[in-house]
């Protein structure tokens, strides 16, 4: 599907989402609509976003934004889904049952940003050593006088 067609299709399917143009289409979703929308994106035969190639988070100091980059191996169209999260108590549904690759990516985001993924099968620290819970290195206000080298 070309970008314009995809944009029309997505506006029909998700009236509450805002869609921005860019190199790829950017779709902003609310936390409440998130899981059902992701399931539609994966399962609707004419969309078929079966390959989640990047999942990450950005700390904007006032809020966090989850960023999902996805691709369809059948149609070769791409989409970026963004969800704003509260910075104090960030919570979002997991997508690891839709894309298995999300399991590891979500564990990484959990430890580096402190986002709590609801219904995740195995939410533990992945890269950081034991005892790092509660300190999230990739947040902008993280300070570690021992290990961090400031340039």
């Amino acid at each position: 599907m070309i970008k314009e067609e995809l944009k029309i299709k997505l506006t029909e399917l998700f009236p509450s989402a805002t869609i921005e143009d860019g190199e790829w289409l950017n779709m902003n979703l609310a936390v409440g609509d998130f899981l059902s929308a992701m399931e539609v994106l994966r399962n609707k035969p004419e969309l078929n976003f079966d390959y989640l190639f990047c999942e990450t988070c950005v700390d904007w100091k006032t809020h966090l934004t989850m960023v999902y980059h996805m691709d369809s191996t059948q149609y070769r169209h791409q989409l970026v889904v963004k969800v704003k999260l509260d910075r104090v108590k960030p919570e979002i549904e997991t997508v690891s049952h839709i894309w298995r690759t999300a399991e590891f990516h979500e564990r990484e985001v959990y430890e580096l940003f402190g986002v709590n993924f609801l219904n995740h099968p195995d939410l533990r620290l992945l890269i950081l050593p034991d005892g790092w819970e509660g300190k999230n290195p990739l947040r902008k206000d993280f300070e570690d006088p021992v290990n961090m080298i400031k340039l």
């Binding site: 860019g22 190199e23 790829w24 399931e39 994966r42 399962n43 079966d50 390959y51 989640l52 190639f53 990047c54 990450t56 950005v58 700390d59 960023v67 980059h69 191996t73 070769r76 049952h97 839709i98 894309w99 298995r100 690759t101 399991e103 590891f104 990516h105 992945l126 890269i127 950081l128 050593p129 290195p137 990739l138 993280f142 961090m148 080298i149 400031k150 340039l151």
Partner: protein, 380 residues
């Protein structure tokens, strides 16, 4: 809804549990993990029930470090991630900065970049071939592989000044022009390697012991490979079309002839065969370009201090291990606001548990070997 294919959820279901579960640790210091990877394997008898990777022994938080480095500096931290295809990592980062600044790369630099990328790919695959054969018990290929790799390293040393972490890419082109000997040496290498690659096939590919060790081992279906985000030769061994050079051509990849190698075997042997065939494709790309390096600048004129406009930029590039992604969030300053590296090894490793369940512990090394894991790439 995505469904897992038939795997042995409950190993030995219905049979009396005579042995009980045994948990063993492979690594962090183990010769077959090629780095500090720690696997906690739950066994029932000899059958694998679960594999849990424990990562982070070489985690340096490169993403956080890059937030305080300029757009010229951060490129070189990525050489330390996937050190076997450091050139291609640098290339991806340079491309992302160029995308943000809309810099046109001169044709000469484009061709040099592609040549260097393909040489790196050959060096990486050759080293993998030696290490893989060593993992399954054949020692000689390791020394043969280093003979060819040494030739490539010498070529790199002359042009880039370094043998492993080349740091040759800059936004807008390459750092120096190629060495006057470059073309002659590359041609010599191509002639040499063409004969040796047949030797590789005779020695390992057609070896019945090797085939028995790898055929039918580490099965992963096409659907699962996509769902686990596998890329590169590991996914192409399951028939997934995922070569970024073909799908989203960058630099001069749309002007050269090469095939995307696919295999529907889905097992370790298929992944092995894909890599060996890719070596020949890389050779063919080098042959097409080596006599056609255009004259001109090797670097576009850029400002001394680079400032990316406000926005988000993402580039995808095909490294020797799969798709490498660079995601830069810029606030308009001289350093990135947030940077994320999507490393191919990270996603490929996540499929290991699925692959290994239900197979024997002895096959573990053959499975891990064909995933071609580079640990700094996974830990970042």
């Amino acid at each position: 809804m995505y469904r897992e294919t038939e795997i042995l959820k409950e190993v030995n279901a219905g049979q009396p549990d005579v042995f009980g579960d045994l948990v063993i640790n492979v690594g962090p210091q183990h010769p077959a993990t090629h780095g500090v990877l720690h696997l906690v394997i739950t066994l029932n008898g000899e059958t694998i029930k679960k594999v849990e990777p424990h990562l982070g022994y070489i985690h340096r938080s490169i993403e956080k470090m890059d937030e305080s480095l300029s757009y010229r500096q951060f490129i070189y931290t990525t050489s330390r991630m996937d050190y076997l295809s450091s050139h291609i990592n640098n290339h991806g980062c340079a491309m992302c900065v160029e995308k943000g600044l809309q810099i046109e790369v001169p044709p000469r630099a484009q061709v040099i970049r592609v040549l260097m990328d393909e040489l790196t790919r050959i060096a990486s695959h050759v080293l993998w071939w030696g290490a893989m054969a060593m993992d399954v018990g054949a020692l000689t290929p390791f020394f043969l592989a280093f003979r060819e790799r040494e030739m490539i390293n010498d070529i790199m040393e002359e042009s880039c000044g370094a043998r492993l972490t080349m740091n040759y890419m800059v936004p807008g082109g390459v750092m120096y022009d190629i060495h006057p000997n470059f073309q002659r040496k590359v041609k010599e290498f191509v002639d040499h390697f063409k004969k040796k690659i047949d030797e590789y096939d005779e020695l390992v590919t057609n070896n019945v012991i090797f085939q028995n060790r790898t055929k039918g081992v580490g099965y992963i279906s096409k659907e699962d490979a996509i769902s686990y985000g596998m890329t590169g030769p590991a996914a192409r061994g399951s028939g997934v079309q995922c070569d970024i050079r073909k799908l989203f051509p960058y630099e001069v990849y749309n002007k050269v002839q090469f095939n995307e190698i696919l295999d529907n075997g889905c097992d370790s042997f298929a992944r092995y065969v894909v890599r060996l065939k890719e070596l020949r494709e890389s050779l063919s790309i080098i042959e097409q370009l080596i006599d056609n390096i255009p004259e001109g600048d090797f670097q576009a004129k850029t400002k001394a201090v680079l400032k990316l406009p406000k926005g988000e930029f993402y580039t995808r590039i095909e490294t020797a291990r799969g798709e490498f992604g660079v995601y830069i969030v810029s606030e308009g300053g001289t350093t990135p606001y947030r940077i994320k590296f999507r490393s191919p090894g990270f996603s490929n490793l996540s499929a290991l548990d699925h692959m290994a369940r239900g197979s024997k512990i002895g096959d573990m090394v053959a499975m891990m070997g064909t995933l071609d894991l580079v640990i700094p790439d996974i830990d970042r």
